[in-house]
Amino acid sequence: MIQLFHVYKTYGRDVEALVDINLHIQKGEFVFIAGPSGAGKTTLLRLIFRDELPTSGQILVNGRNVVKLPGRAIPHLRRSIGVIFQDFKLLRDRSIFDNLALVYRVLGIPAAVGKRKVANLLKLVGLSHKVQMTPYRLSGGEQQRVAIARALMNDPVLLLADEPTGDLDAELAVDVMRLLGDIHAKGTTVVVATHDMDMVRDLGRRAIILKGGRLVEEHL
């Protein structure tokens, strides 16, 4: 599903965000990208959905070389990927429904089908009763779940989650990880970036450890 070959990412002249990263994530895997803040986890995710280009190296995602992807093909790549952003990227002045509807509108899905999809996903994340609320009135955990629901709107083959348990207390974090586990169980490849090494150890999944932009360890 994802292959990186000698990927470097340098910001400015000498800020090395990623150094010689090689990795291979199979279709249907559940993988942690773990490491302290500033290790390059977010950068790595952004390279995968082509929000950034590597300074050098090649990246294959779902059979496409994203480094050589022409600009007009980027939307196509992104439609096959679901991304849960660290800051959620929810529109605060719109209802939960409108936030999710944005995706089906972009995809050009008929409204009737899209609305059903929104309802199903909100049921999955347990927020059916808050569909008309704005993110302002939701707790951090609830916002996180809206962000997850939105990332699933396009039935992605690959789900990227950036610190999905970041600000949550332990109990809510377990809930979110269980949800991601369920999504993985249905066949979606899931990549989770986190700084929470305890959680990574507890869950016993494959983990790729980054430190200072370098891949330092891999646990299987």
Binding site: K89, L102, V106, L107, G108, R150
Partner: protein, 297 residues
Amino acid sequence: MERLQYILQDALVNIRRSGWGGLASIGTIAFSFVIVGIFLIITGNLGALVSEWKEQFQVTVFLEDGITAEQLTLLKKRIQSERAVKAVTYTSKEEALQSFKRELKGKESLLEGLGENPIPASLQLRIYDAYQTPEALRQFTASLGRLEGVEDVLYGQEWVDRLTAAVRMLRLLGLSVGLALGMASLLIVSNTIRLAVYARAEEIEIMLLVGATKLHIRAPFLLEGMIQGGLGAALALLLLFGAYRATLWQLQLTPGQIFGMGVGSFLDPQWVGAMLVAGAGVGAFGSLISVGRFLRA
């Protein structure tokens, strides 16, 4: 199909949200187009007037009193062979006097002191449009003046020339003013759209991240600009038409009556269409500038 519907909805939401900025856009475009429209109406009518006059334009060749019938026939043939001449009509001394008397209406007594008929016979020449330029006429009339039996050549061309020049100047002025105002409209529209784009910056970012094409991002703003521009132009046309009817009413005239010719008309349908298209075009262009700049940033 769905996508088209979503784009249209987004455009309408944008317009609703644009508030005073949107109204300012529409107002500026309307103002510019009113000014341009006034020039178009004035120059259009003056142009029609000029061509009407050109149609009726005649060169009058006054003949020497002693001209013989033979000389006259020769002269007519000679003049008819000129390429500039459409038609030749002969007016005898007697006919000229009668028509002069008709024009004096009731003051014929003024002529009583005259023993002999003082009015010369003449030929009236209708001239093809192509030869109604000042230079061609000067040459042509000069050559006529040298012909045998010709006393004098008269043509009231100078003021027609002046009017033609004035219309040309007005058109040029209208074009420059229109261009300047068009640029101003473009700036205002692009500024309004820029505000709309920035108001939706977050949404656009998310849309791009979930796989929206740039066309999909652009389209609602493009539509918004076109609608604003089109509405501005339509408003201008309404105002112009209202002002036009009010003017006619003030002058107690029906359109056809002014100068007794086909003058005093409103803009031609094709100009109305062109103004609407131009309005939408200005809006679209202004929008493309703003969104393009945003997407590149």
